[in-house]
């Protein structure tokens, strides 16, 4: 629901008291800063090879050790945050741009349009999200762009369902009826009256969706069908570390911790936002 100015500050005060939500936001902020300041924090090239130093354990020179090609794991995790955040933003952008308009139209118009959109959504939901992304990668191919598109499309049905459900509720409100009665165009009603009132669940879903996006993309990277080397990507780092579990377990350890805290950050913020903005959904 759209919040007037007073409620905005109230919501912010409530969020500040929500310690776990705040902790999540701090985590996200740390990742954001790391991504933005990567060249300052780690001035070396994260992809430069040094086979003399392959699979070294953590040391002062390389605090998290080196991988099989002698590259600094710390450096690759720092630069990997750029890739993961880019994926998270790209994925929810695809989900939002496709899912929100379809959900609005489906819920507002009903009838045949709704029926058609919902059957397509049913089909997409017949596949668990990760498998849908996997199937799309099989068609589109590997790489950063295709990872974003595939994972993004796999999230579209979730947004469609969510927005449609909320639109069905809002559509019946008196102010929508009033707008229709004075002859406001449908597009205007959708944009000015319905969209602002379904924003809260969308914002919550977007925070949770970013966490899922990072997990999915890392999963694809781990399987070798996501972002391709030499781009530093956390999932792919784990995938290559798998071969050295016995003699150099640190290679597979640290990138996983990076993924974990990033996803935790988005999940905690999403939960916090939900508690503050929409107490009905509190679990």
């Amino acid at each position: 629901m759209e919040l007037p100015q007073k409620q905005h500050s109230l919501a912010w005060r409530k969020f500040k008291r929500n310690r776990t939500g705040l902790f999540g936001s701090v985590l996200i902020l740390i990742y954001l800063m790391t991504a933005l300041l990567a060249p300052v924090i780690f001035p070396r090239n994260p992809s430069s090879l040094n086979l003399m130093k392959s699979l070294e354990r953590p040391s002062i020179e390389n605090p998290l050790g080196t991988d099989e090609l002698g590259r600094s794991i710390l450096g690759r995790i720092i630069y990997g945050s750029r890739v993961s955040l880019l994926i998270a933003i790209g994925v929810v952008a695809v989900g939002l741009l496709v899912g929100v308009p379809l959900g609005l139209i489906s819920g507002y118009y009903g009838g045949k349009v709704d029926f058609g959109i919902q059957r397509v959504t049913d089909t997409m939901l017949a596949f668990p999200g990760f498998l849908l992304a996997l199937a799309l990668v099989a068609v589109l191919g590997v790489g950063l762009k295709n990872t974003i598109i595939s994972v993004g499309i796999s999230m579209v049905p979730i947004y469609i369902r969510l927005v449609r459900g909320c639109t069905l509720l809002v559509r019946e409100q008196t102010y929508v009826e009033a707008a229709r009665a004075v002859g406001t165009r449908d597009a205007m009603i959708l944009l000015r009256h319905i969209l602002p009132n379904v924003l809260v669940p969308i914002v919550i879903q977007t925070s949770l969706g970013m966490g899922t996006a990072i997990l999915f993309a890392a999963g694809l990277g781990f399987l070798g069908i996501g972002v391709q080397p030499p781009t530093p990507e956390w999932g792919a780092m784990l995938g290559s570390g798998r071969a050295y579990l016995f003699n150099a377990p640190h290679v597979a350890t640290f990138p996983g911790i990076a993924i974990f805290f990033a996803v935790l950050g988005f999940n905690l913020s999403g939960d916090g936002l939900r508690d503050v903005l929409d107490p009905r959904f509190k679990i």
Partner: protein, 306 residues
């Protein structure tokens, strides 16, 4: 009941048709000639032509789709471009492994998740509740493949208790099923907690307590019975998540299941196998959710499907 099951089965037809359309257009969306793709890169022009004719790719698209459907109905999914074996045979050989892994994992997840949720709900906002809810949150945020790798490091590399991968004995399934269970236990714990808190605040719980029943009886027989529906629903839905997680877990532990098959096929661009595996995954998911719907009637006698 039988009528309901039949009705519910019929209602899956549109979704199945949707899946078939998706699979049908999957190959057409690929750049290049589908016959060439199906035959593989090494195939001779004669082979490609033969496949084109066999699959009716030289005929109008609507007839092609009809042929595709009729083959699908007979579970004729074509041959693998890699091994030349019928796709259905490849899938059949691996399906039991994935089912075994998934069932072991979901059982473990329920054995831990439901009691954890109940404990949290009975003592909300105490240390035990915070412990279980934070464990659940950790479980949701943890990459399943990373957890698997870390379990290998601890139990195989350092302690030498369990094998790092493969199949053969009961020991081989311990790590993969724990890994996969951790993936879904969080959702089951959260849902159990939420629906138990709701059930415990209802009038019938108060009545049961005021009758002087023991607290355990109130929790298990009165509250849990009523809280089970959303829990079962979530277990059914998580089964889908589990199939996705199986792809990753099977890769970590070199477990020869469907997940491994689909990844290998994607890497080898073996499209008939990719199509077939996706179809089977979709079917399993639909059947599990159908099973969940039918179970409702057993759990809650008020639900009758007329």
């Amino acid at each position: 009941m039988l009528q309901y099951i039949i009705k519910r089965l019929l209602s899956t037809i549109p979704v199945l048709l949707g899946i078939s359309l998706l699979l049908f257009f999957m190959l057409r969306m690929l750049p290049g000639d589908p016959a060439q793709v199906l035959a593989g890169q090494m195939a001779s022009p004669e082979d490609v032509n033969m496949i084109r004719h066999q699959l009716g790719l030289d005929r109008p698209i609507i007839i092609q789709y009809g042929l595709f459907l009729s083959r699908l109905a007979r579970f004729d999914l074509g041959r693998s471009a890699r091994t030349q074996n019928p796709v259905i045979k490849e899938i059949w050989a691996r399906l039991p492994n994935t089912v075994l892994l998934a069932v072991a994992a979901i059982t473990l997840a329920c054995l831990f998740g439901i009691p954890a949720g109940i404990f949290s709900a009975v003592r909300p906002y105490t240390w035990i509740d915070y412990l279980f809810t934070s464990m659940a949150l950790f479980g949701i945020s943890m990459p399943v493949f990373w957890l698997g790798l870390m379990l290998v490091v601890i139990f195989s590399v350092i302690l030498h208790w369990l094998p790092a991968g493969g199949t053969g004995s009961w020991k081989h399934i311990v790590l993969p099923s724990f890994t996969l269970a951790a993936f879904v236990v969080a959702f089951i714990t959260r849902m159990t907690r939420a629906s138990m808190i709701e059930a415990l605040s209802q009038d019938y719980t108060t009545t049961a307590r005021s009758k002087g029943l023991r607290e355990e009886v109130v929790i298990v027989k009165h509250a849990l019975r009523n809280a089970l529906i959303p829990i079962v629903t979530v277990v059914g839905l998580q089964f889908g998540l589990l199939l996705g997680g199986a792809v990753l877990t099977e890769t970590v532990f070199a477990w020869p299941g469907l997940g491994r098959l689909i990844v290998d096929s994607i890497l080898a661009r073996d499209y008939p196998v990719i199509q077939g595996t996706i179809l089977i995954f979709g079917l399993v998911y639909i059947l599990v959710n159908l099973g969940v719907d039918v179970m409702y009637a057993f759990i809650d006698p008020r639900i009758r499907y007329d």
